[in-house]
Symmetry: C2
Subunit: 508 residues, 2 copies
């Protein structure tokens, strides 16, 4: 009964469907300052921020610190115990009389880039405007001059345009808008920009532990990920966990001529193909023993929210250009509530112009396992390792294989896993969750989408475990943003919408 009432409250919040005065004021402010907003954002995008590029990460952190300063906030670099890892850029705004404290989170580091894979003329760290998405025939547009209209359907191409400099920028631009509009936040605001998210947030625990007092709050709001594929704004109550693995299969010590040895020497690419093929059935169900065990069932409320998510499968299949999805007919929304195993890439010797008639010496696959509530990252990794062993492999973590190992084992695989992290879900029944939903809904006429969990991952379990504080994710990027890949982009309107969303969230 209690659930049903709350569900009604949550899921009908959208029935108000009037845009608030604050939203309209924010829009008018933005329309007057589009050029200035874009200039500041382009400056942020031009700084290389690949998570493993120390120099670029430092520059990006310094640029964001400066953005805080320009807004009258004293920036702090929060480090953990370990030296030499990207700091979190932090700032806070105390609001007299506020009874709540909210931390706004985004991350400023980006995924690795392989420049060769980007479309002609695009460079990951030379952000450029396009008239529309590349695959809709978008063409480059010269930077608009002052006063020139900015089309909200334009896109900015570049690494982290969506993931997640958009989050950093939307949060800081929202605070700036409040300052300019002379509207006071209703809660104490804290800004926390992480610099190591794309490497698995390996040291976030240290930072949270060391700065526990400073980071005290009632809620973390996470700005990362895309809005719903229908274009509707969404509020997400959790994330999947994630852990990356690499599997490398070894064969001959030296590459062999495929004519002189083909049919006899073991082929590591074929061995890896067979190993990978053994992991999933033709419908994409994972065949690894126990892979779907440990899953915490969804609550009734979560199930009902899930059932209310607008179906997008047909639209997406068309947009993405395929007819048969994995999952044997289950919907995307349902499938994201299961743990998954993905091949992120594989490689052995060369293809294309560099292909040669050889039998390669090794073959490597990059995998990621997404985890749902109940899964444990290390337990899930162990299931994969056990499966590889069950296929007859000797499994080692060493890069170099000894002659003794080679003589002893017919099949050898190096399997390494990063530390990874578990899933997290904030109960949809929390009162503050309802407040967030109302705030986001106040910015749009369309009913917003509520999801028990994002398909993607963020280390939100840490906020729960270390700070004992709930997290709610409110994303802003367009869904077709190519995040994590070549040709990452952001639709300008999503930045403007995100600004309105975050202004509202600073008045919780």
């Amino acid at each position: 009964m209690k659930h049903a009432l709350l569900l009604t409250a949550l899921l009908t919040a959208g029935l108000v469907r009037a845009q608030s005065d604050l939203t309209l004021k924010t829009r008018a402010y933005r329309q007057q300052h589009e050029q200035k907003l874009l200039d500041e954002y382009m400056g942020l995008l031009a700084i290389p921020n690949v998570v493993y590029d120390t120099a670029g990460i430092q520059k990006t952190a310094a640029y964001i610190a400066n953005m805080l300063k320009r807004r009258g906030i004293d920036p702090q670099m929060l480090a953990g115990r370990t030296k030499g890892v990207p700091p979190a850029v932090y700032g806070e705004v105390r609001v007299p009389g506020a009874t709540r404290t909210v931390v706004f989170y985004a991350h400023y580091d980006g995924q690795p880039v392989n420049s060769n894979q980007w479309a002609d003329g695009l460079k990951p760290f030379e952000p450029v405007l396009y008239s529309s998405a590349l695959d809709a025939g978008g063409k480059p547009i010269a930077a608009p001059r002052d006063g020139q209209a900015i089309n909200p359907d334009w896109r900015i191409y570049g690494r982290s345009t969506s993931d997640d400099k958009a989050g950093v920028f939307a949060i800081l631009a929202a605070y700036d808008a409040l300052l300019q509009l002379k509207v006071k936040p209703t809660a104490n605001l804290k800004f926390f920009f992480e610099g190591e998210e794309e490497a698995g947030s390996t040291h976030l625990n240290e930072i949270l532990e060391r700065h526990k007092e400073k980071l005290k709050s009632d809620l973390w709001i996470i700005c990362d990920g895309p809005v719903h594929q229908t274009g509707k704004k969404q509020v997400l109550f959790g994330v999947r966990g994630d852990v990356n693995m690499e599997v490398k299969v070894y064969a001959s010590k030296r590459p062999l001529h495929s004519g002189h040895y083909g049919n006899w020497a073991p082929n590591p690419a074929m061995m890896l193909a067979k190993l990978l093929a053994s992991m999933k059935d033709d419908d994409g169900n994972v065949l690894i023993k126990g892979f779907y065990d440990d899953v915490t069932p969804l609550s009734d409320l979560e199930k009902q929210a899930l059932a209310k998510i607008p179906p997008v499968d047909d639209q997406l299949r068309k947009e993405l250009g395929f007819t048969k999805a994995e999952g044997g007919g289950k919907s995307l929304a349902d499938l994201l509530m299961r743990p998954s195993l993905n091949i992120n890439g594989f490689s052995s010797a060369n293809v294309g112009k560099l292909a040669a008639n050889v039998i390669p010496i090794s073959a490597t696959a990059a995998l990621d396992l997404r985890l749902v509530l109940g899964n444990d990252a290390q337990r899930q990794v162990q299931k994969v390792i056990d499966h590889i062993v069950a296929q007859g492999y000797y499994v080692t973590q060493q890069e170099s294989i000894t002659d003794d190992e080679r003589a002893r084992y017919p099949k050898i695989a190096r399997v390494v896993a990063k530390s990874g992290y578990n899933a997290q879900r904030t109960p949809m029944t929390l009162p503050i969750a309802q407040t967030v939903v109302k705030a986001v809904q106040s910015t749009v006429k369309d009913e917003i989408v509520l999801q028990p969990s994002l398909g993607g991952s963020l280390p939100l379990y840490l906020f729960d475990q270390i700070l004992n504080t709930p997290t709610i994710t409110v994303p802003i990027a367009n869904h077709d943003n190519n995040q994590h890949a070549e040709n990452e982009n952001l639709r300008i309107q999503n930045l403007w919408d995100g600004l309105e969303t975050y202004v509202a969230l600073m008045r919780l």
Copy 2:
């Protein structure tokens, strides 16, 4: 009976086992001129010769033409009908009173190189001496000064050190040795150096047809490939055919975030893994329907020669560092008499430091099919295509897939094959074959190895079809030469042995 006698003649030729005077004279000559020989060879190796590098190919051809000139031979560039393809470098020596004409073939083009894959400090076109093989702990050696001893176990590292500039050089150095020793060849000699072998000898037919008269001869002797793995010299009476294929599997039009879409969006790397895995069983037997049909059985003589080949499987397994070969226990020598399917490489998105949490858009595999007598390249390719279709794929040759195709077919693969060529075998019963065996045997005390076919491929069927002339292959490179791959190398002693072999072959 006739076969049995000839077999005896062929297979006991080695019983003489005395090195000829000519061999000993050649050795003494070489010992006096090692530095000069090496210098000329290093000069040849330093010229880039990747088959697709037009400028490098032209320079290499010009350098070889100059080598002919230095030996008093008028060099000619033989072209076919098609413009802009690598010419064959040709020269001839008429010998008064000779009753035979022999063409000596080698190719001067090389396989593509991926410099990143070469060992530290090695560059494909900066040939360098090593104290021994890299994986035996070899270290770089400064170029020896005049008079300094050259250790025959040293190796030269660089592209085409073995495949097949070694062939070009051994032939021309042998002719030079005859000149210096004032020993007349007994046959008219023709030199033919191809420049497009590593691209499948696509235009060799045109060259042979256009210059049919000029190329008239009794025999082509092919200098390519390695000596036997025991280190013994060998004579090969045929080659496997070869045809390269590329299979590219398509999924989403754009790369997807593996968190937001993993478990639902089709994964092309997994699709390709399953497709490749379906092609061979765990013992390496090809499962494609009819793959082993069409094979012309070995003659009794060929079977007996095969049975006499020294077993090397145990030695090789140890040397190459694996315990389980493909083929369910059959010997390497036997397996090379079967058609094969090899994965030369595969690729999808990225692994290692560039790996990202994506679902890739496509996955590509490079395959080569080796063919034996009776197979037809196009028929063999069609069997693979039929197999891919039988796995539910729509197969196209187009690189770009239309929206209509994407909407219509759940599984899409682009499959392209190069033209390739068929196998060839010269009957071991030919009298001239016996003469060649005797000549090679005259250079060593060890009994030489006779093989019905090389595992590798050369377009020898063309000499048969167009010129109606038999071919016999007499290789010189060390078997552990990494040909076609990174860290290609030649053992110096193999060059010296090759010189003696080819001097003998010019006195057939």
